[in-house]
Subunit: 304 residues, 2 copies
Amino acid sequence: MLEVCLLGTGGMVPLPKRHLTALMVRYNGSNILIDCGEGTQVAIKKKGWSPYPIDTILFTHYHADHISGLPGLLLTLGNCDRREPLMICGPRGLRRVVDALRIISPQLPYEIIYKEYAEPMETWQRNDFHIRAFRVNHRVECYGYRIDIRRQGRFQVERAKELGLPCPLWGRLQHGETVEHEGTMYTPDMVMGEARRGLSLVYCTDTRPTDRIVEEATDTDLFICEGMYGEGEKDQNAKRYKHMTMEEAARMAAKAKPRRMWYTHYSPANMNPKQYEKGLRKIYDKIEVPKDGKSIDLKFDDEA
Amino acid sequence: MLEVCLLGTGGMVPLPKRHLTALMVRYNGSNILIDCGEGTQVAIKKKGWSPYPIDTILFTHYHADHISGLPGLLLTLGNCDRREPLMICGPRGLRRVVDALRIISPQLPYEIIYKEYAEPMETWQRNDFHIRAFRVNHRVECYGYRIDIRRQGRFQVERAKELGLPCPLWGRLQHGETVEHEGTMYTPDMVMGEARRGLSLVYCTDTRPTDRIVEEATDTDLFICEGMYGEGEKDQNAKRYKHMTMEEAARMAAKAKPRRMWYTHYSPANMNPKQYEKGLRKIYDKIEVPKDGKSIDLKFDDEA
């Protein structure tokens, strides 16, 4: 089960009832935070989660509304007596920006591992998360994220029996090990069925629509996308500041066909984005216009 | 009338129901903010005030819980299209710290004027505010503040008449000008009565008790002081981290005899500081243990 919480839905400036846009996902004890604006650590506490197990922070870019909460969060993790390393990932300039902000959180009891993207697309694994950062189109270098939890096939009991493999070896093969039995080597693919559908989500904000976003979001469980401007007449602002209207995001969703689509990063002037939901569902019926704290537990297709 | 709002009362870390400690005061169109932790701009909005007219920010010191909200506030002022200069004042290192934090708010449409304290005590005037920064005793260089609004004496109508001064000149003398009438120079002190009691407040946080604080707080209208630890057994922590227990602060108030005394900067572990109020009032009866947003309009003694 992949637990997802959209901690905040605001763009530009934190409001009394709207935290800045950030996402937190949890799977099997590992936690990823995407973006950390002013107040994100408060939003985590409001959700009832702890910041302590966050082992990875992914930044889309370094505009203040996406990173201003970092020094406070780093200190809070330190005050929790965190000792395990924290991985922080983001576009070029990451280390320079984080080092500057750390003027107010210089001493931490844990190591920070930096991953600064050199390519328009980077893919890596962190615990059970398969992460892909892909460049989007904003005023500064900015990345979207796809996160996948893969699911292997079922263990083929009949096949293991045919091969004469004794029961105690099954578990090791299931966990990806190669085993030796009576002088013969057995690899997992010899006893595992075809990989099953896993879980996937795409998160992108602060960008114009791009084909790459559509491609990444295709058939995902959840597509979270900025919808900075609610009204049609804001098209010019969306183009000028390199954001999207809610309608533009909906048209991407209609092409990508994710199982669910959530908006985020509303303009502070867009006080009631929910009013547009009905109209947007005519473009794509799986759309939701959520508020802060919107959560879902994504489950595998055959999971109870 | 001096409007005062204790925007937040928390120390160390922002909580869902407790903003970090910060104070905002307004007088005659001029606004001072003391400290700006993560979320202070949200607390200003919750109060229903605008950050726009803040013309002076005073920092006690540069621990993150007192300054982490600055880059966001600077950007918000820029987004309001502020053009007037902003004065930022604080202990040594001010410019280095603010410049580093501004990596995420580099372009602003207004000028920043820095005032970095070179002495243990500095006094200056900003609009109608007479400000004194005085060094306190924390783990790093830290200052408390006294803010005074002075009040001149009454205009002595009889005296002006005796001097043969015509009515149109009275207002200029009242506003501090020297005027000439029929070849003679007249100065304000010739027609103004003795200065009346003004308004004054002292704000100090992140310090051990000091004689200087007692001296500054003496007979003020409002003394705002940290009360990090509520329980007696926290004495050792208070000494170790150079903070105060609520009792230590109360004993300072009992010496200084301000008209009102408010606590702030509660430890995040001190979830219900109000429980100590009754006991603390036995030490000094003008004590209040406020929550976020605690406000007062301080009025001159003869003001309606």
